[in-house]
């Protein structure tokens, strides 16, 4: 019954139109608007489920495709479709959006309808980014998506929100402009904006390298990779909890998705030429940022740095393919790196989202993110403490949680490329545990630190529900990641084959 519906359009436009309706409703009644927002988010999530159940895991081809000419003069089309890389990310987006709407329920007192609407619209636009098969359409969604995030931080953010939005703005716009140039140049060469056409398009090495660098600027900022990462901790600190959750859980994945959808297949030779750069930046992210996370005093900053460090695994897994080929004589293992990167992206969405929600729970009560203001929270909030320790362990990559799977696969794959890559990447075992559990020790354990902590109330039903659902998902994908891998396998295999063929 779902096969005939334009599912991708629905998951893009339902939340956008729904968001506009929420805006309209909000001027009359805040509660009505919130209920409507929740219904829209749930509807979008339900609409995205058939993308999984109806997904054909035997093919690498695009599925659920939709095609409609848009701007014929420049052959820009409304062209949608998903494969094993984008489909899980759409599900992640629709799932997280539901949680974010629930998380903001009582917490947001100031203009709640607008807040909900911003998140719904953002979700639709992000789905658009993942579903777009036309480069211009992709670009439009890519830029448009920033506006609601910009508003979320700017309106509901903390005291330094102007600085944070400015920084966010500078970084991301400067980055994506170069991508636009590269896309236009390729259009002028090939006459097509279709991403799949660009995959097949032969390009000379110099041009490939320039295109690669243009993409790199756009995507590296989003991931974010060292050294263009410093906007993230500021944005997180100033963003409201929901903003942080979406930022960490989904927005960071857009950059990584860009590498998979654009950089690797369009410029494979440049990727091969510059893989040393990508690997170096990834490893710097893992190690350098791991140390930086260790000394953070602000819980949100700490988790933000931890995100950057974890995203280092994503980019590492993607760019080790040619080193594996050089070291072992075959591409076998490259797929594991890319699949590990994908798993890490999804898992990080759940775990970092959960960690930010945990900090949000504390912030809502004490209005402080400073680690030093807490201590002994377990005595007053035992249920919360249980969740916090679970997510902290997941963040530290404990086997049995989803946080382990991606890191494990990337470390296994990078060993095939070079012992020292794996060596440096594996330091996360120590560093990740150190910064996460040291924070847990100072916040959750110990004696009750102050009268304020003594007065804390444990999780309410709404908070328990959100964290409980996330805990189940984190454990499920940790204990049984096979379904996730089965979905992406043909696509990744196809990508690796594609990467192995030179375009020169």
């Amino acid at each position: 019954m779902f096969a005939d519906l334009p599912l991708l359009s629905l998951v893009i436009w339902t939340p956008i139109i729904g968001g506009l309706l929420v805006l309209a409703a909000g001027s009359r009644n805040a509660l009505e608007a919130k209920v409507l927002a929740l219904l829209v988010a749930l509807a979008t999530f339900l609409l995205s489920l058939p993308l999984y159940s109806g997904f054909d895991t035997a093919t690498a081809a695009m599925q659920f495709t939709e095609f409609r000419p848009w701007i014929a003069t420049w052959s820009i089309n409304y062209h949608l479709g998903v494969d094993g890389i984008s489909m899980p990310l759409i599900l992640l987006t629709t799932f997280i959006t539901v949680l974010v709407v629930i998380a903001g329920w009582e917490v947001i007192q100031n203009k709640p309808a607008q807040y909900m609407a911003a998140f719904l619209i953002m979700a639709g636009l992000m789905n658009g980014v993942f579903a777009a098969l036309d480069a211009m359409l992709f670009y439009v969604f890519w830029e448009a998506m920033l506006i609601p995030m910009f508003i979320v931080i700017g309106v509901w953010g903390g005291p330094r929100r102007i600085y944070a939005t400015m920084k966010f703005f500078l970084y991301t716009f400067l980055g994506s402009v170069f991508m636009l140039v590269a896309l236009i140049w390729m259009y002028l060469q090939s006459g097509s904006f279709a991403i799949l056409d660009l995959h097949a398009m032969p390009i000379g090495l110099t041009a490939q390298i320039l295109i690669f660098l243009a993409f790199l600027l756009a995507f590296a900022v989003k991931v974010p990779m060292w050294p263009v990462h410093t906007w993230l901790p500021d944005a997180h600190v100033e963003a409201p909890t929901g903003g942080s959750v979406v930022l960490a859980a989904i927005m960071l994945k857009l950059g990584a998705y860009g590498f998979l959808r654009f950089s690797l297949p369009i410029t494979p030779d440049a990727s091969q030429q510059l893989d040393w750069l990508m690997i170096a930046l990834s490893l710097i992210a893992v190690v350098y940022i791991g140390f930086v996370a260790l000394v953070q005093q602000d819980m949100k900053k700490l988790i933000a740095y931890s995100s950057i460090s974890h995203m280092g695994f994503v980019t590492l897994g993607m760019f080790i393919a040619w080193r594996i080929a050089a070291n072992t004589g075959s591409m076998q293992g490259a797929g594991m790196g890319i699949e590990g990167a994908m798993v890490q992206m999804i898992s990080h969405g759940f775990i970092s989202g959960a960690m930010f929600l945990c900090v949000g729970v504390l912030y809502d009560r004490l209005h402080s993110r400073e680690i030093a203001d807490y201590g002994g929270v377990a005595h007053t909030m035992p249920r919360f403490a249980g969740f916090m320790v679970l997510f902290a362990m997941a963040n530290a990559g404990l086997p049995g949680t989803s946080g382990f799977v991606g890191e494990f696969m990337v470390i296994l794959a990078s060993f095939k490329a070079n012992f020292w890559f794996a060596f440096l990447a594996a330091t996360t075992l120590i560093l990740g545990a150190a910064y996460t559990l040291w924070m847990v020790r100072r916040v959750v354990y110990g004696e009750v630190a102050s009268d304020k902590v003594a007065a804390l109330k444990d999780l309410n039903g709404r908070e328990f529900l959100i964290l409980g659902v996330l805990a189940l998902v984190v454990l499920l994908f940790g204990l049984w990641p096979a379904p996730l891998l089965d979905v992406m396998r043909p696509t990744v295999e196809h990508l690796v084959q594609h990467m192995a063929v030179s375009k020169l």
Partner: protein, 677 residues
């Protein structure tokens, strides 16, 4: 039949897991009795079913049971599965783990009966702490079973980290104590250092074998033994050596070998039942088990074996020395555990894997016994752990006294007791070994016998004999204001029953299994030794049954060394009790060195913990804040802001920045393409 056994295996791990889930999530609803009943039933089922498997695999000798349960994931043509391998090695571990765990579960009913006293009033975390404790120890049993029953490296790593998690949770169980949360963080991080090596070792296995399945890896090991890897240009390492040393680094963390031993003494912050279960009998022996399991790989690298020999020997002797000066009853046993783990490691290094695992088994019984007995003393002394305030307790707690004596005699290797057979076997095996480092190791394990006997009986005399020092003075921390001495009394039956149950195998398990495990082929194909390394095979030629070994035992150096240790302890702590203080004053330097634990903790705190924070601050303040943000980002922000200010009267707002940046970017890119094109 085989299908049934598969289900038995699943039930063995599922029963404690289920108990843990029920006690953990519904502890409030089912109450204390509900929680301990459900977890004890779970572990009892696991124990009984382990006996079923023992019967099948060992007594019936009906072959190993190996099967996959489900596919964890498939990636790049490699299938990662969750599955079980029950052979003679794992089934022995299963029986030991579930038996000790069952005893500890029963014991905990008594030990944690008044746990509410350990929590601040009104603490939410303290509300169902009793139930939570049972949930954790059952979860530990599940994790440990997953570890020993794994048929592949991935699941091994899962169990490996899962026991680490539970250890973390239990060391920090009394989470209001700063020392406890310091100790559990330290334990987790030091273990992570080991796991760092372990994971790299697993990655190396996958790279060279393209599978993580034990059987497939072990079968192919022989073919890979001549491969080399270049870790840095110009050097070549044998792949097997690299794999084995990396895996062994994992074992060094988990089994607390020097220099990764530092977490174990601090882990005594946890409640005593888990010190017995996790930090003496089972979890810390996971490293020993793992190396024995990997014997087909370790056999192929003499370099790795020598490395293991030396690390084990250092641990065996030098950690023993530290036991001598401890005054906390649990810490003595903790250092004794370190030292004994060193003995097991030495056995592995000498290729006498069977002897190491045999000692693992006997040690599990008598060390769990000693810990639980120490706990019983602690209960009787109202949570006093300082031995200087004990003495003469044998009158008041006869069962604890006798069982402690049995445990101590087993530990020091008194001929006839369980520890004698396994320890003597190790010493003889090292003596026979031809590997580099074996001479040093032989000296260490021999000297260690004296040290072991000395600290064990120092503890025994201080606690159970001599003056009743708890009657002296009102000790400073008796803040309750009542001056009456608590009269010590024997502990309830839930505490003493496990002591008795553990005392039996502490006496018998050695003589019963020495013939099979030590010299026979008990472990079958589970442990493989190359002919040129087969020291146990050589020793078997002079072996004439357990009685012969006992009689011979009275004539050998270890016996006389042990006796000397006991006599010295008697002289110093019973006869001439003023002498230890004199010795201490005379050898102040040595005493300080031991008291500071060779300065290992100080060094780690300063170098690793302090150093990491220093690097973190440096990278953050200089790298992120000053260089990237200060110079690049805010610099350009200032520039843009300045430009914006100049033309603000023309246009304002972010849209302008957007357009400006866009145009600038476009121009730049086109210029680049024109130049390049």
């Amino acid at each position: 039949m085989l299908d049934n056994l598969h289900n038995v295996n699943i039930a063995i791990v599922a029963a404690p897991l289920l108990g843990a889930i029920i006690a953990g999530l519904f502890g409030g609803a089912i109450g204390r009795a509900g929680a301990h009943t459900v977890t004890i039933i779970g572990v009892a089922i696991a124990f009984l079913l382990s006996l079923v498997m023992f019967n099948h695999v060992v007594i019936q000798d009906a072959g190993i049971v190996s099967h996959s349960v489900y596919t964890w994931l498939v990636s790049d043509g490699i299938t990662f599965e969750v599955g079980f391998l029950v052979d003679k090695l794992s089934v022995m571990m299963m029986v030991v783990v579930t038996f000790v765990s069952l005893m500890v579960h029963v014991y905990t009913i008594g030990y944690m009966a008044h746990d509410e006293e350990n929590w601040p009033e009104g603490s939410g975390a303290g509300k169902n702490s009793y139930q939570r404790f049972f949930s954790y120890i059952s979860l530990f049993t599940f994790s440990m079973l997953m570890l020993v029953m794994a048929n592949n490296f991935m699941q091994l790593f899962f169990g490996w980290e899962a026991v680490g998690l539970v250890s973390y949770l239990l060391i920090g169980f009394w989470l209001k104590r700063s020392s406890a949360t310091y100790a559990n963080l330290k334990a987790f991080l030091v273990n992570r250092v080991g796991d760092f090596g372990f994971l790299l070792g697993i990655a190396a296995v996958l790279m060279y074998f393209n599978t993580l399945d034990y059987a497939a890896v072990f079968n192919a090991a022989e073919l890979q033994k001549d491969l080399v890897i270049s870790l840095w240009p110009g050097t070549e390492w044998s792949v097997m050596t690299v794999i084995c040393i990396l895996l062994f680094v994992g074992a060094m963390g988990k089994s607390a070998q020097v220099p990764l031993h530092v977490w174990l003494p601090d882990s005594m912050e946890g409640p005593t039942p888990i010190s017995a279960l996790i930090h003496a009998a089972t979890m810390v022996t996971a490293g020993i088990f793992m190396v024995a399991r990997m014997s087909p790989l370790f056999e192929l690298s003499e370099t790795a074996l020598s490395f293991i020999l030396i690390i084990g020997a250092i641990t065996a002797l030098f950690m023993g020395f530290l036991g001598i000066i401890q005054n906390d009853i649990k810490r003595v046993v903790a250092y004794s555990t370190l030292s004994q783990l060193g003995y097991m490691t030495v056995a592995l290094g000498a290729s006498a894997y069977a002897a190491g695992v045999f000692h693992l088994m006997t040690h599990a019984f008598f060390k769990a016994l000693l810990f639980l007995a120490a706990g019983s003393v602690i209960i009787a002394m109202h949570h006093e752990q300082d031995m200087r305030r004990m003495g003469g307790l044998r009158k008041y707690m006869p069962i604890t006294w006798i069982t402690s004596l049995i445990g101590s005699l087993a530990l020091i290797g008194t001929p006839g007791f369980a520890g004698f057979f396994s320890k003597d076997l190790i010493i003889e095996a090292v003596h026979a070994s031809q590997l580099p480092g074996a001479g040093f190791a032989y000296f260490c394990v021999l000297a260690g016998v004296f040290v072991t006997a000395f600290y064990s009986f120092r503890m025994y005399f201080l606690v159970f004999h001599g003056k009743e020092r708890f009657r002296d003075a009102h000790h400073g921390h008796d803040a309750h204001g009542h001056h009456a001495v608590h009269e010590p009394h024997e502990t309830p039956w839930v505490v003493t029953l496990p002591l008795i149950a553990l005392a039996i195998p502490s006496v018998l398990a050695g003589g019963m299994y020495i013939t099979d495990m030590g010299f026979g082929n008990f472990f079958g194909s589970a442990i493989q030794v190359l002919p040129q390394h087969d020291v146990l095979g050589q020793l078997a030629q002079d072996y004439h049954g357990p009685w012969g070994m006992v009689l011979h035992g009275f004539l050998t150096a270890p016996f006389w060394l042990a006796l000397a240790g006991v006599v010295t302890a008697w002289l110093l702590y019973m006869k001439y009790t003023h002498v230890p203080a004199l010795i201490q004053a005379r050898l102040q330097f040595l005493h300080t060195l031991l008291e500071q634990k060779y300065y290992a903790d100080r060094f780690n705190d300063w170098f690793f913990a302090g150093g990491s924070r220093g690097i973190g601050r440096l990278l953050w303040q200089w790298g992120d804040v000053r260089l990237i943000d200060g110079l690049l980002v805010n610099g350009s922000a200032r520039t843009v802001g300045w430009l914006a200010a100049v033309v603000r009267h023309v246009q304002s707002g972010y849209l302008f920045h957007y357009a400006f940046a866009m145009i600038l970017g476009l121009l730049l890119m086109f210029a680049l393409f024109v130049i390049a094109g």
